[in-house]
Amino acid sequence: MNGDTVSALDDAIAGALARPARPLGPPPSGTGLDRRRLSALPVAAQAVANVAPSPGMMAASGMVAWLGVAAVPVYLLATLAMVLVGSCVAQFARRMAAAGSLYTFVAKGLTPRTAFLTGCALLLAYLSLVGMCLLGASRRLAMLLADAGLVSVAERERTVLLLTVLLGTILTTCVVRGIQISAMVTLALEAASVCVVLTALAVTAYSGVGIDDTLAAPDLTASAVTGALMIAITGLVGFESGCALSVETRRPYAVVPRVMFWTPAVCGALMLAAAGLHIYGFSRHHGGSAVDGSALAGPAVAEVTPLLPVLLQLGLVSSLFACAMASANAGVRVLFSMGREQVTPPVFGRTHPRYRTPYVAAVTVIPAAVLTPAALWLAGLPIRSISTALSVLATQGFLLTYVLVCLAMPVFLRRIGEHTRWASVAGLLGAVLLAAVFTGFWMETVRDGRAVLVAVFAGLLALGLLWFGRVRRRVPDVAIGFFDEATVEDILPGASPVRRG
């Protein structure tokens, strides 16, 4: 360090201190969102809740039943893939805070059309997840109520519908009422749910109750392993929703990248733990036979404690509700960003004057996400197939978004002159890996006789592109990529770029 450079920094500090204090005005409103308010924990909760590890843990323990010990490397591989995607997303999150999350990120690397496609896929994923989770939560609640004798079995379907509307109303209120509240609710519900499921799994493993005596020979054919990999990966998607809160997070460039890296890692570890507990419980009691995961929720656990199945169901309900809340939070922020860029009606870019949330987007799309499945059910479709359809749509949305964000990352870094060889390799590897998973998922869906869902997905995205084409014909240079730019408040007084700009 020579004296000259030291004095440059000293001069800057002295200059800043010597400036007359700027009078305080209201805080910069920039985006209209509640800027820089959330601490790290709610942001992590948002990301984790959107992954919904509890149902994933149940699936993981169930997988042991047909894959045996091979479930462990399957989950390891899935976790590694998602951590890779997470680290690609973190490259963006370290450099910009955007409510549009991956939609805005892709806009900074690829073309506006591709970015809009990403936005549509992401929005579709979040909204499908909102519908699916609320439907799932109300189905389980209705089942509990029926078991308790509070509603008759005949009324169960109607109860499901009523509960869905009720939960949807609560959800919308929380999302509008403020990110602090909805993030805290998410955190509490998700934490409770993970604790309950882990306890239930541990109790089962140690007591040996609920463990199947019959030997299931692990089915290790290529198609079985690919199928298992699909289940594991789809159980881990959704962690990127933490990015949607980056504008509202304190120290976003430190917090959000960490959340992007650790959420898939921790959720993967939870699922591995769930699988591990089953393998352990099983070798402890039967010396090597398989465990039937579905027995957990059934009468077997009730032999240990009659409360456990009820608690387990409540835990899953709260996880599903938290997932719906997290998806809704992220989804309305994607739509809000589109509204601000005027690629959708600008009214979606409006924020509540008091709660500083994108309330117009919230009161429009959350009811739509809740009522569409309800209408399908009224039209005669069974609830179970509606859930499956929504889950398949959501997974396609997430996987496509991940492929594109991995592709966009190295291009973005090159554009801003910060590319490294490692980043290019990571981006390319992530894109290829996820594209393979996406193709695999499509093939699996078609093989299961659900080709129509692939068509619906492609059709909805095509509609989105048609819409974008129309917007572009009217406004040829429509700007996509709205993010939270540095304000004068953030920069050292006297160090603003007036000379250059």
Partner: protein, 255 residues
Amino acid sequence: MTKPPRHPPAELAGRQPAAVVSALTVLEEVARAGPGVTAKEISTALGLPPATTYRLVNLLVAEEYLVRLADLRGFALGRKVVELAGAAAREALPPGVPEAVTALRTRVRLAVHLVRYRDGRLRLVDPDPDHPPSAEALLARHLHASAVGKLLLAERRDLLPVSLARFTPATITRPDLLDLELAGVRSEQAARQLGELRRDRGCLAFPVRGRAGGLLAGLAVSTSPDRVGRLDRAVLRLVGRCVDELADLLAPDPT
């Protein structure tokens, strides 16, 4: 018991201090090159490997010592850099300000304190030497419990701490009551505190505003809580005159 090692442990002697030095040189380079300098330019100027430079600038951005500008390529020094100068960097008061405050002190025979507000932070710039007020850190952290803090909160409710700590039975800890109080501050253009931070101390604070009406500073007189409510009219007139004088000194006419 073994003697403590004479040399610092290996991990301290190794890479970390080097990283700190590199981080500081990056800050210095941004200061020297001026706002808008890119990571690549920093890397070239300092002869640091690009990957290391990118990691360092992103770390400094994460900690808010650097700010990434709107083009996402360029950097500027962050507001937090001032904190590097630490408490030593006391703000120099414009000439005439200390004299005006001292004059008021000798005339009203009450404790008189001057605080300034900068970037949403409260700074005790001229505390009464004979009746020292509560520590600056305490005032700055618990804005709801002091008169000078309430002046700031009345303008910037977003600075409200997450939980309102209770210091005495008189401390306002309910957000709704505090909102009511702050509305009163806004309408009366004065804030009071009656034994809310310390039982034996009350305070009356007046805002010092710039030409555009922005809050620059706060002038507070402090005495026992029961006396705050019935201060002499003459005393209040003197304080009011001092507030006007300070407004002229702190925000001089641009012409």
